[in-house]
Symmetry: C2
Amino acid sequence: MAKRVTLAEVAAQAGVSPITVSRALRRPDTVQPETRARIDAAVTALGYVPDPAARALATGRSDVIGVLIPSATNAVFTDVLSGIYDRLAESRFDVQYGITRYDPGTEESLLGVFLRQRPAGLIVAGIDQTAAARRLLDRAGCPVVQVMEIGADPVDMMVGFSHHDAAAAATRHLIAQGYRRPGFLGARMDPRTRRRFAGFRAEAEAAGIFDADRCETTETPSNVGMGAALLRGLLERRPDTDAVFCNNDDLALGALFEAMRLGRAVPGDLGICGFNDLEMMRAAEPPITSVRTNRFEMGARAAEMIRARLEGKDPGPALVDLGSEVQARRSTEGPS
Amino acid sequence: MAKRVTLAEVAAQAGVSPITVSRALRRPDTVQPETRARIDAAVTALGYVPDPAARALATGRSDVIGVLIPSATNAVFTDVLSGIYDRLAESRFDVQYGITRYDPGTEESLLGVFLRQRPAGLIVAGIDQTAAARRLLDRAGCPVVQVMEIGADPVDMMVGFSHHDAAAAATRHLIAQGYRRPGFLGARMDPRTRRRFAGFRAEAEAAGIFDADRCETTETPSNVGMGAALLRGLLERRPDTDAVFCNNDDLALGALFEAMRLGRAVPGDLGICGFNDLEMMRAAEPPITSVRTNRFEMGARAAEMIRARLEGKDPGPALVDLGSEVQARRSTEGPS
DNA sequence: TTGTAAGCGTTATCAG
DNA sequence: CTGATAACGCTTACAA
């Protein structure tokens, strides 16, 4: 374990005082080019790297950008992470993640953990923080971006889309394709899922074809097997259901497999629409209609907005709607 | 932004010196129960939380446990992360992730980033570090666990399984089921993939049925669509192939869909075996045979081993083989 | 069992 | 443009 090279040693080597080295490193234009050159030489010669802890202690600010997401295994969030990471990888900032497990209380306490590090910025998923968490965010004293969703009353900045509208668009698509007895498959039923359900319901009601008995939901987490189980339950109760809007792509895939098992032709006997448009939707047989959401981009924009603020640049509008788009495929080509 | 409550303030409130508070917090048994009670009261009254930066500066050690993985979107690694997180969530340690993007150079430089924070521990995926990275790990001065794989010459501790043997077992399964012209589908071809291929090859050669022309691989990342493309390519060249061992479950799923499109019955015309045993394998139609690897457990064990070392407990054996297990399902029931 | 003194590596402040 | 001085909040000696 080689001992750390300090600012003082660099200073000695360059024949200047430590504070000058510090300045040369942080704001090169504030020191004479000639001394700066000597310092740079010393830095590389000695292999100096700053100590983040000492910096944090002296400035009362860390270079940590905290990210709070519900799950580290759900592709929806990992895509957002990739976007964040992409824009922060080459910067001086370190990303630190916290997993809330969809629990507002955990989110609240993780927020506390982050805040005590005086983060440079904060990215949180969603807009459903507890009142206490909201207060913490309001006083965070750093740029905050809420991602995944947009809504009224942002803490600071926001980048996402309307889950309600996205689901409504998918539902309109099903109706436009000729399906008249559509059902809804949903799992976990977290706030975003509920808003998607609301979008489905609103559109179905507008068309006069909403039927609460065609809505099969569960509080347990969603996966492919659950999609199959939900579809089976739905069809047992309402065998004449002719399409399903699935709350996510895992459910949709499970529904497809279950339809195969039941001998229901897709899309003729049953239309299937997913949500998120994971890559596998396109590769399935038949390819499955889904709603594309710009997850990577959401993370990337969030990171950019924080960086802009931190670096004194223009972060652009505080509220960014990245929208969504129905990707129509064969699985919803219409009833036969 | 409420100003920070310091140790000194707590000390004042409790009528003791700062160092006593520090001790009471870190090793409660070294202070008189009575003073400890006064201190605890003061801590809660003031809402004191320690400053990690100050602690790190004073001790030359942070509470960060660094985790290096190739990808944040691949379910294989996110499951490991979940395991790590599960065992560290309630501890004093903070997890910090770095994504290498399967690039040894990136891994090397991220290691540098972590090391300058003097991490409490390090978890790295795989055993294929560069020589320079290896040197850094050897001198890390903290517990190090290599996960996902086991091999000779561990840096410190290791928890994983043999990818070669796991693939060999899957291949034996295919042969035992009666398949005689098995092929291999592989993407990305990172070191772990190559070792799996070697396992397939060894077993196929032992049975005298290895055919290099039945091995369809690509350097590009794997996904479901790629599984379909690879299978198509393979069958064009070798239409009589009767089974495929897929390097991972995404490829297997894509192969299944492509088989449907081509009108090849699974398992009668084509046996399909995946790798990792993601949940969807069980839910597919037909259910797809795969190799179960204990990813969550790998992460959990790695975290436990580091904690044990850090807390002076017995970490158990330094090399843990969590094995793997072929989950036989209908997709490999045998040729018709 | 508790306290004193000193310092961890950096930066803010104010002089020069 | 550069430097001396004093923090930042905590912990490791060592002493009492």
